[in-house]
Amino acid sequence: MKRLVSIMMEEKRDIWLSVLFGVLAGLTSVALFGLSGFMISKSVLQPPLYIITIMTALLKLFGAAKAGSRYAERYVSHRATFTILSNLRVSFYEKLEPLAPQIFGKYRSGDLLARIVGDVETLQNFFLRVFYPPLVLVIVFLSTIFFTLFYSVWIALVLLGGLVLTGFVIPGLLALQQRKVKQGVRERRAGLSTEVTELLYGFRDLKLHQKLDEKEEKLLQIADAYVQEQEKESVQAAASQSLNAAAALSVAFVVLALGAYFVTIGELNGLFLAMLVMISLTIFDNAVPMAVFPAHLEDTRQAAGRLFSVVDEEPPAPKMGMIERDDAFSIELKDVTFRYPGETRPALQNVSISIPAGSKTAIVGPSGSGKSTVMQLLLNMYTVNAGTILLDGNSMGEIQAENIWSKTNVVLQENHFFYGTVRDNLKIAGDGLTDREMEDTLRLVELPFSLDDPVLEKAENLSGGEKQRLAIARVLLKRAPVWLLDEPSSSLDVLTEKRIFGHLHEAAQKDTLVLISHRLTGLEKMDQIVVMERGNVVEAGTFNELMERKEYFYEMKQIEKNVLA
């Protein structure tokens, strides 16, 4: 929370302006109603006309000032909110950046990023809904109470009691109540979401196994329980709001009764009674934002907790090692065993692969065999549980990750493209790339795009094959000496794949190249083929060696031949 305040406080000026205008708006509205009550009472006493004129003019003035300051308050506070959002994003990005991409491996759930974005957005409400409403409320109330002190200490005390009750006690009680209910709502919601997902994705199996009705009934039961829990939450909120309204009315009532009593015993001039009553009726409008205050407080507290726990990870100790050479280097896995966090079965078990500098290696195997895991380890996304990985003869544990990335051309199974243009997405491959170079590369991978063509979010306007070719174009432009390619052409047809691989091999002539593939075609030219199954290397050799040996690779090749196009 403290750190949140310090990020927020970067916008001091707007924050204090918001408070100032908020207080002004609150006070003028109290003044407006107080004055109108006073005016009516005064009018009865037949004052000179100019007094009425002055008071009417004042009324207009207060009215205008109230509306104006309310406008200014809203404007400034919202501007501040969005600026704070921007600061929050930048600040979290700066903290998250050094931790990536390893942190994505640790939180394997794909929604980590969406959650971060959501939580940051929740935090923007901290200022608007948590920080300044109580500040404004207290200042307005205390000023008003100070004013009423001149007329009656008792009435001032009653107002003070009202402030404590409506501004803090009742919302606080609600917050306490809701903590538990909200937990229940969340749990039921998660339950329902799982049921709906299972029903829809498992529809065919449910139907065929005649379990659909059973599932449907269960789903509806959980849906009802979820709604009931939500209802509990809403009813509590409604009760709290009504209670708050009742408290405000009671205060006005007590002010009236007390005032009336004081008037009858002569302690208060009757002239001011209407004014005091009007003030007590109006001032509680200012407490309205406090109804949502605890909920927002709780939300921000949780969001901040989650966010900071993610970015507070110790960044890995800085590694000093570098790969000295600028040309192709060798890669060697020695007895590597690796298990994904939270899994019991190892993804790799005693894997040894030797890839000499400048050689071309293919890693093949069925889905789930661990071939992509090898790739992730080479990119330093995870640390091995046992064994070592040597790059250019140096242990990977000592080499700067940035150094590895800068020396590799990586195409992943899923490649990210940024919202923008084709040019934007190619430009990240290197500084000083000319349009000509980029266009030539696009032609090389047979993409008919112009550099100004738009790329939508997640490249949803590109087909799978186009995305893969754009990713290949991007690494062709990067020209690093080591290539790590994870099924880079799975969505391309065989002929296009062949042509593009031709270009790749040409570009990587002197480079080290590791290709992960589940297709077994076009591997004849490789120096080495490594066959993996269930986290183990089952055999390795050249294409001809493996075909002659007639074991796993040969069998897989037979099946592939057997598969109809």
């Binding site: 009865v44 006309l49 990536a100 065919r204 009504s242 009532f253 069998e555 592939e560 109809l564």
Partner: protein, 570 residues
């Protein structure tokens, strides 16, 4: 809006109660002002003793209690209505989906449907919980207040009547303007707001290309751009609220001036009436402003309602069933079958006969209708034209449960439900087979080794919340399901590639074993599968282009030959 209103009108009782409470609320507000004014009047002008106003204070207190009670009851009714509508909408949606057999074929869209069931349904909540009670209250209370004021002092009433229409009018103008403005800026806003997530998602790529450090400025720039674009829209909204404040303040000022003058100059109104009008005037304008604000609240639910409506509008073609029992090992025949859904799935003029215990294979290019044919044969879809016969009788005369008792369907991507491996194998097995039978089925499906490796064995949790199994392992669980069920009709969508050798071997062996006691219909991708088939149907563009054994088709069909040789050459 229409759907939302329709669901609201189904809750007649609650609507009536809301109406009644609003009328009562109006009366209470008027009564409260009346007693309040009179208490002040009596002690201030008439110099009565405190004791004399105690009864009035008592009434006043009573009214305030009632007012708080009505506020609560109103909110409570809104919550009730929201709950009832949400429950109802969820069950309508669910019914719609489960009755629509096409659901099996469009699992790709399931993610969107989950969102509709969760977010969209929750999104209509505020319409019933806040908007309906608010609108009801805000449209009735001003009328009652206006009547009370007009009765007391017609001139103030007239001012109220004249000024009132400006407020809703203003809201409408603002609504249109802000909507236009936000539509203009929509792309910009979406781009700006998505940038942060886009950058985070691309962080790995940025790192690999050594660009991550520079993105900080991009994020700042887009966030500030978002601020400017949003403030542009908000400014309109704030300015109009300012104007509304002016209108209501000026109107109240006008009323105050008018009664003030009458009180002082003309002496033509009593203090009680003047104060009464003055207390009620803000109630009147506040209620009107609430009405405008309520429309904004209601707007928020519109998008959600649209999404639900779109789901409900999809047409459904439920499969027809009867009550005859399906005999053991039936033959299945499709006669002149037509089927069309969207662009992807179509069948034209399909005639297929599958004798009892026969092995059939369906081959053809992607999109030729193979899987659709499998789904029609499985009883998941009904043909739009033509008929399906089981043992010579129309399928519609047999009972659904007796048919599915005889069927197993092994898809390319079997779904595992959250639960243990054993529960997943038991799914759909008739009766309650002993654990040993489950183990035997797992053994036949080649799962024994995997189960031995796992700490909890058959009781290991899989699915959503449990561990993930590889594609090959899921296939084997699906096989185990079939072994336990002992069906007489097996539908098999052969995987294309990506399976391990072991699963490949087990699949072949298992299908052979299942074929001993059942008809097997396979969407085939492997040469040996079609070589073993009694009859092969070559699909092209939704039609059966050729049928026969492998040998016959090699002789008679050129496209079959091309396909087989093309595959073998790869």
């Amino acid at each position: 809006m229409n759907e939302l209103r329709k669901w609201a009108s189904e809750q007649k009782g609650i609507m009536a109660a809301l109406l009644g409470l609003s009328v009562l609320m109006g009366a209470v507000i008027v009564g409260q002002a009346y007693f309040l004014v009179n208490v002040v009047d009596r002690v201030f002008l008439q110099n009565q003793s405190f004791g004399a106003v105690v009864p009035m204070l008592g009434f006043l207190f009573g009214l305030m209690v009632i007012r708080a009670g009505i506020t609560y009851a109103n909110a409570r009714l809104g919550v009730n209505m929201a709950s009832k509508v949400k429950q109802r909408v969820r069950s309508i949606l669910l019914q719609k989906w489960t009755q629509n057999p096409i659901q099996t074929a469009i699992q790709g869209q399931s993610g969107g449907k989950v969102t509709v069931m969760m977010e969209a349904v929750d999104g209509i909540d505020s319409y019933y919980r806040e908007y309906m009670p608010q609108v009801m209250k805000a449209s009735i209370v001003p009328l009652i207040v206006l009547a009370a004021v007009s009765y007391t002092h017609i001139w103030s009433g007239l001012i109220m009547m004249v000024t009132a229409p400006f407020i809703p009018l203003f809201y409408i103008i603002i609504g249109i303007k802000t909507q236009k403005k936000s539509e203009e800026q929509l792309d910009k806003l979406a781009a700006f707001s998505g940038q942060f997530l886009d950058t985070l998602q691309g962080l790995q790529t940025l790192k690999l290309f050594g660009r991550a450090g520079r993105q900080r400025d991009v994020i700042q720039k887009s966030s500030l751009g978002f601020r400017e674009a949003t403030m542009d829209i908000l400014k309109i909204a704030f300015t109009s609220t300012l104007m509304l404040e002016f209108i209501s303040t000026l109107s109240i000022g006008l009323i105050a001036l008018e009664i003030g003058l009458r009180l002082v100059v003309f002496d033509s109104i009593s203090f009680v009436s003047a104060f009464f009008v003055l207390v009620l005037a803000p109630e009147y304008y506040t209620a009107l402003k609430e009405l405008g604000a309520a429309f904004h609240t209601g707007r928020g639910s519109l998008g959600a309602a649209e999404k639900i409506k779109a789901e409900l509008a999809a047409d459904e073609q439920p499969v027809k069933w009867g009550d005859r029992e399906v005999p053991a090992r039936p033959s299945v025949e499709l006669k002149n079958v037509h089927f069309q859904y969207g662009e992807g799935f179509s069948l034209k003029n399909v005639d297929v006969h599958i004798p009892s215990c026969a092995r059939t294979a369906i081959v053809g290019a992607t999109g030729s209708g193979k899987t659709t044919l499998l789904n029609v044969a499985a009883g998941l879809f009904d043909p739009q034209e033509g008929d399906v016969f089981i043992d010579g009788r129309p399928r519609a005369s047999f009972s659904e449960s007796s048919w599915f008792r005889e069927v197993s369907y092994i898809s390319q991507h079997p779904y595992l439900f959250s639960g243990t491996i054993e529960e997943n194998i038991r799914l759909g097995a008739p009766g309650h087979p002993a654990r040993a039978e489950v183990e035997a089925a797992a053994e036949k499906a080649g799962l024994t080794e995997l189960i031995r490796e796992l700490e909890d064995g058959l009781d290991t949790k899989v699915g959503e919340s449990g561990r993930g199994l590889s594609g090959g392992e899921k296939q084997r669980v699906a096989l185990a399901r079939a072994f336990l069920k002992k069906p007489s009709f097996v539908l098999f969508d052969e995987p294309t590639t990506g399976l391990d050798l072991k699963t490949e071997q087990i699949l072949q062996r298992s299908i052979n074993e299942l074929a001993q006691t059942a008809s097997v219909m396979t969407v085939a991708h492997r040469l040996h599968t079609i070589q073993q088939a009694d009859v092969i149907f070559l699909m092209n563009n939704g039609e059966v282009e050729a049928a026969g054994t492998h040998m016959e088709l090699m002789k008679s069909s050129e496209s079959y030959r091309a396909m087989v040789q093309g595959g073998a050459a790869g």
